[in-house]
């Protein structure tokens, strides 16, 4: 479990390792893709609960993160998150989003187990990660 967690965390960190100008967009892109997969399983309500909880927990480390106020419009779902990132340096925004994703997926893994979580994330983010962490992730 610990190794698996580590790999999932590494995967998230590697996906967030983006050029500064792309950090915010990459973050929102990851959330969008993951949201589609998770909403298809647990619905909007379930996703919103998970997301709100994750933001709350991440605010302990990044207090500037706006409280979750998810729009029902798919294209606007993470507008507030993006606004939060816009007020920060790319490094801060990247670190915050990594932690937010890790927190989110950690909670998800406690609810549905690591294998299912990994499967969902694979569907959301694909298997074509170029780094070693991603390879390990896909070879789990």
């Amino acid at each position: 479990m610990a190794t698996s967690d580590l790999l999932r965390h590494q995967k998230i960190n590697s996906l967030m390792a983006q050029p500064p100008e792309k950090v915010a967009d990459a973050a929102i892109d990851l959330w969008g893709k993951m949201a589609i997969q998770i909403i298809s399983i647990v619905g909007e309500g379930g996703f919103n609960s998970l997301y709100a909880r994750s933001v709350f927990l991440t605010q302990a480390s990044f207090p500037w993160l706006a409280p979750a106020d998810l729009s029902s419009r798919q294209d606007q779902r993470f507008a507030q998150l993006k606004t939060s990132f816009a007020g920060q340096t790319p490094a801060q925004a990247g670190a915050a989003n990594s932690l937010l994703l890790i927190t989110f997926t950690d909670i998800l893994a406690t609810l549905i187990g690591e294998p299912l979580t990994t499967s969902i994330l694979r569907s959301a983010w694909g298997n074509d990660a170029s780094d070693s962490a991603g390879k390990e992730f896909t070879n789990e």
Binding site: S40, V42, G43, G45, S49, L50, R53, I107, L111
Partner: protein
């Protein structure tokens, strides 16, 4: 047909009416007959031809009829065939309809299955959403419960005001430290700290300022110790410090000095720069006690000695200190018995009208007629009574006794005078204080205007709103009100104007110096002037010399009290003074 019928009739019967006549007359008949015969033969031939033709025609017609019959049969067959074909087509149509119906049923079933599947998916998603939300909520609740448990545990072991460890946690840590020190053969120190004159600040500036001061003190104490040390608040203005790791007793002395220095700096609170000292008592394990309780008790005892030694210092516990602590305990127990056995007495010090020399009132002063130690002044037991709460029943006794005595003097025919009773903060804030005053006056039959309550500035200025309502309630009863020890506390002039105060009693510390210290003289003059401006009576306390009396008289002070006019005396002696007149007791 008719023609044929006619023809037929002619051919069957000849003209003579004889059958076969033609063949017998052939050779012998004349030409005419021959001709007739020929004509008749020709006619027969014609008839035969006609018959033939008719037969042919009949055959033809029969044939035609046959043909028609055949045709009809064919038509019938064809019709049968058509019917068969139609039936076959109908059958086929039925089959195809059945197939179509079956297909439609299948499609409908498939559609229904698909719709059911979609509904099921939606329901599953909804169920999942609820499960996720419920689980998240359950996590949150569990977290809140855990947080509440941690907070409760923290609250159970920490002081709410300062967030320092409380008595329970100190006991625990001290117990563990003693065990460790015992195993390792080491020493540890317990320091009992009590703030000096904190009550004075609390009474005069209010609990809010007092609380902030305690928080400030707590912060400074924590700043003076190591992480391994424990600073705890025991309650009130008492703190206990545990130093679990000391090499020598001198280490504790160094810590004490450090704390005295830290607390020496003023505390800036609510626009006040407050100075507060601390008296520290130190006990050392194992010399001064083997258990937590003994070590704390002995440090407390040492702290009292530090206070008696001039405050704002520290003292190590010594065994003979216990004797004095025991004495204090003994006084407390004796005070309780004294109340029951009515060992308290009141003495009365006259208040003089400076212009006429007449006694206008007395101040009731409590004494303790101790069975072994004789007559004890209030300084020896009132602070202890205040500490242990006995001041309330003692105060009620004083009030009743003073009222009874004043009424008794009046009943004895002596001139009516005002009797003044000192009222402590604890009594004044007691819920039943007003009711007790009212009931005491009613029970003793003393007119309220002959009772004066003396309150210090610190009592009055704390919580001005409730003070104001209480003072007005007392004034409403007709009771007189005086500010005692005026000039030594913190008075707000606006409250002074607002409160229904009748008299200002100038503190004796100013009066003592009025003839030698121009500043004190100025203060006394100013207070007299202010009192007159506010239409309040002014009385000078502690008048001991003729010079002081003369000064006060010159400043138009109304009244005086002090040894110059008379010491506190028993009720009987005071009655004598009232009878004889005070003017004879001091020179004018």
């Amino acid at each position: 047909m008719n023609r044929n019928d006619n023809d037929g009739g002619a051919s069957d019967v000849d003209d003579l009416g004889q059958p076969g006549g033609i063949s017998q007359g052939k050779d012998r008949l004349p030409a005419g007959l021959e001709k007739e015969r020929k004509r008749r033969e020709s006619a027969v031939i014609d008839d035969e031809a006609a018959v033939l033709r008719r037969e042919n025609l009949a055959s033809t017609r029969e044939d035609a009829a046959h043909v028609r019959e055949n045709a009809a049969g064919l038509r019938e067959d064809a019709a049968h065939l058509r019917e068969g074909a139609a039936q076959a087509r109908e059958g086929e149509a039925h089959v195809r309809e059945g197939a179509a119906t079956a297909r439609e049923r299948e499609i409908r079933a498939a559609e229904m299955t698909q719709a059911a599947s979609d509904d099921q998916m939606i329901r599953l998603r909804q169920v999942n959403a609820h499960l996720v939300t419920a689980t998240i909520e359950a996590h949150k609740l569990a977290e809140q419960v855990e947080t509440a448990k941690v907070e409760l545990d923290h609250l159970a072991h920490h002081d709410v005001l300062t967030d320092l460890p409380n008595r329970i946690l100190l006991q625990d840590r001290l117990g563990q430290a003693i065990e460790l020190a015992r195993r390792q053969g080491r020493q540890l120190a317990v320091m009992f700290m009590d703030l000096d004159q904190f009550k004075h600040i609390n009474d005069s500036l209010g609990h809010a300022v007092g609380d902030q001061l305690l928080q400030s003190v707590a912060q400074r104490l924590v700043g003076c110790v190591r992480h391994s040390d424990t600073v705890s608040r025991q309650g009130g203005d008492e703190f206990v410090l545990l130093l679990p790791y000391i090499e020598h007793a001198e280490d504790a002395a160094l810590s004490a000095q450090k704390m005295l220095a830290a607390l020496a700096l003023p505390h800036s609170i609510d626009r006040h720069d407050l100075h507060i000292g601390v008296s520290i008592g130190i006990s050392i394990y194992p010399d001064d006690g083997q258990d937590a309780e003994t070590l704390i008790k002995n440090a407390d005892t040492a702290m009292y000695h530090a206070k008696e030694n001039g405050r704002n210092n520290y003292k190590f516990f010594e065994q003979d200190m216990n004797a004095r602590a025991v004495q204090r305990q003994s006084i407390e127990a004796c005070l309780r018995r004294a109340l029951e056995r009515q060992e308290f007495v009141l003495h009365y010090q006259p208040k003089i009208n400076l212009h006429s020399g007449a006694i206008v009132g007395v101040e009731a002063l409590i004494r303790w007629q101790h069975p072994q130690h004789g007559l004890l002044p209030p300084a020896q037991f009132v602070p202890i009574a205040e500490d242990c709460g006995l001041i309330l029943p003692i105060g009620r006794w004083v009030l009743r006794e003073a009222c009874l005595q004043a009424r008794a003097w009046q009943d004895a025919g002596l001139q009516p005078i005002t009797v003044a009773v000192n009222t402590s903060a604890i009594e004044f804030r007691a819920k039943d204080f007003l009711e007790n005053v009212r009931a005491t006056l009613a029970d003793t039959g003393l007119e309220p205007r002959y009772l004066e309550l003396e309150l210090t500035e610190s009592v009055l200025m704390r919580d001005a709103a409730s003070t104001d309502s209480m003072l007005h309630a007392l004034a409403g009863l007709g009771v007189k009100l005086a500010i005692d020890d005026f000039g030594t506390g913190y008075s707000s002039l606006s409250y002074l104007k607002q409160f229904p105060i009748d008299t200002l009693k100038i503190d004796q510390s100013f009066v003592n110096q009025i003839t030698s210290n121009p500043d004190d003289a100025t203060i006394v003059s100013a207070v007299i002037g202010m009192g007159k401006s506010l239409r309040q009576s002014v009385i000078a306390e502690g008048v001991e010399t003729a010079e002081q009396y003369a000064f006060l008289l010159g400043q138009q002070c109304d009244e005086g009290q002090g040894y110059y006019f008379g010491h506190p005396v028993a009720a009987e002696a005071l009655a004598t003074l009232l009878q004889t007149g005070i003017s004879t007791t001091f020179p004018h």
